[in-house]
């Protein structure tokens, strides 16, 4: 039988978890060349909300936690192939041939579009975890120090209770359908920027008509077979592997970066007073479990 038993109600456990969740942050940037186009992104995310449920099998589950992309800058660069307008006839000859042609020209070269998608979200759809205690020996503690020396110097050893994820599932980034128009407009603007600035609007429209459905060609170039929103979500989530990176980062963060709860060892019972040193008891064999009602921490008083 354990010497010490501490329990935290489900509500208290939720508050402890909120602190862990609040301190999560993840930043990442990457770029890749996919042949006909290249893309890069820069993200920073934090977590918010979610539903937490304690189970009788020594686990808890977390669902519907928002992964908020406080920053999501996406850049897409295309090496626009030479879309050429062949010369067309200005002065036709009497045999339906052509004597003088409108000079043919090509449009092409690199174009880049920047999309600021900050504010998009994904979700932790499901996270299952148990608890695991870890004993933390402060690396700054000097070898010859007593426990009292360590406390006085702020380098006490700690018992830490971490969340120990069993699985983490993150959904693909929720890119709304409105991104279709935004990307198309951005590409159109990038193409228009290739034209001389003096060119009147009707001439731009005429040239765009000559070019034909260039956006269709570009979406083909990008390999978009469904919607731009799905393509972008898949590119970021699966091709760049952002979903897997998030899952790993979340699991790693819960498991080792921010403990759910921690306390000093030896544990102070009475503070120093009247010239007497503090009274502290060593904690051994710490265990943290969960049932549907509460978190239970049990330990022995050691030598």
């Amino acid at each position: 039988m354990s010497h010490i038993t501490i329990a935290a109600s489900a509500k208290a456990f939720q508050q402890l978890f909120n602190e862990v969740e609040k301190n999560f942050s993840f930043t990442k940037s990457d770029s890749a060349n996919f042949g006909p186009f290249s893309a890069s992104y820069s993200v920073s995310v934090h977590l918010a909300g979610g539903n937490l449920q304690l189970n009788n099998d020594n686990t808890f589950e977390l669902q519907d936690v928002d992964i908020v992309f406080g920053t999501l800058d996406f850049k897409l660069c295309l090496d626009l192939p030479g879309f050429c307008i062949p010369s067309f006839c200005i002065v036709p000859d009497p045999w339906n041939g052509c004597l003088v042609g409108f000079p043919g020209f090509c449009i092409g070269g690199p174009i880049c579009v920047d999309l600021n998608l900050s504010g998009l979200t994904s979700q932790i759809t499901d996270l299952k975890a148990s608890l695991v205690p870890k004993y933390f020996v402060d690396p700054a503690r000097l070898a010859g120090w007593t426990d009292l020396d360590a406390e006085l110097n702020g380098h006490s050893n700690q018992w830490q209770i971490y969340i120990d994820p069993v699985w983490v599932n993150v959904a693909l980034i929720d890119v709304p359908a409105t991104i279709d128009n935004i990307l198309v407009n951005a590409i159109n603007n990038a193409i228009h920027n290739l034209f001389p600035s003096w060119l009147p609007g009707w001439a731009v429209d005429l040239i765009m008509a000559f070019l034909g459905p260039i956006i269709d060609l570009i979406t083909g170039l990008l390999g978009i077979t469904t919607s731009i929103a799905e393509w972008l979500s898949n590119l970021l989530g699966n091709v760049f592997g952002l979903v897997a990176l998030l899952e790993t980062a979340i699991a790693d963060y819960f498991a080792s970066k921010y403990p759910l709860y921690q306390f000093e060892d030896p544990f102070p019972i009475l503070p120093a007073s009247g010239g007497l040193i503090p009274v502290k008891i060593p904690i051994r064999n710490l265990a943290a479990t969960i049932d549907s009602q509460e978190m239970i921490v049990q330990a022995n008083v050691g030598a």
Binding site: V91, L120, I182, N193, W202
Partner: protein
Amino acid sequence: MKMTFDQNLFMQVGLDSGSLTMLGGVTHRFLEAGQYRGVVYRGGESIGKFYINVDQNSPVAQANIDLAAFDTSLPVPTTSATATTCGCQGDGTKAETTFEVNPKGYAVFHVSAGAGGYAVRASKAAEDPKKQNQFDSRELKCEDIFSAVILRPGTYSASNGLNGKAKGKITVGYPKIGKTAYRPPSPTKVVCSEGGFEPANVELQPGQAVLFQANAPSRITLELVKADDGPAGRPEHTRGGWKKAALPEQKEKKHRGTGGHDR
């Protein structure tokens, strides 16, 4: 890749058969064999001369004569395609040039670059004016053809400066971006006779040529009456620079889970 265009293609709107620009050309047949001497004018000023040898033994059916090549204010073309394809016998410079053509063929006067404003006059070296077989692009006749292309959408008035009865209207539609690349349809023909234009009203697609055949003395002018700037609300063409894209609204949550991190 930035595109470069000759601004004159897009900034010059009206056309005049007696003052040729890049968007208009004149076709003439020299029916009688012999040597013709031509003079090129910009405004009223002579800027160059050339010769056309009209020879029944010539295999050349068509002599393309670029009036801009006579204009010393324009840069010399880097290549001279006409020298090999049009019967041009000159050295491709802005100097005096000699062409040849079969009497059953055509001489085509056109402008390849620049602001234009050219006219041309050619006649045979003969003392008798009746035998000079004079041609003047400012007074088309004998089935000369003025070929015009109107790029700028809108409504134009057509008139013949040598025939007050000839009045017409040309409407050029606004370009539409379709499912296939747009190409202008075949040219439309208008006959200029003593009675006026036939037909008097013409509807064209942008870039579609209209051929005015001068069966009576003609100097065709086309003037923009009403511009068509496209559907209301179309965005102005401006250099966009950098703009922050509006944040897309999220309407509903999707749950498209992946395999997840599973320990």
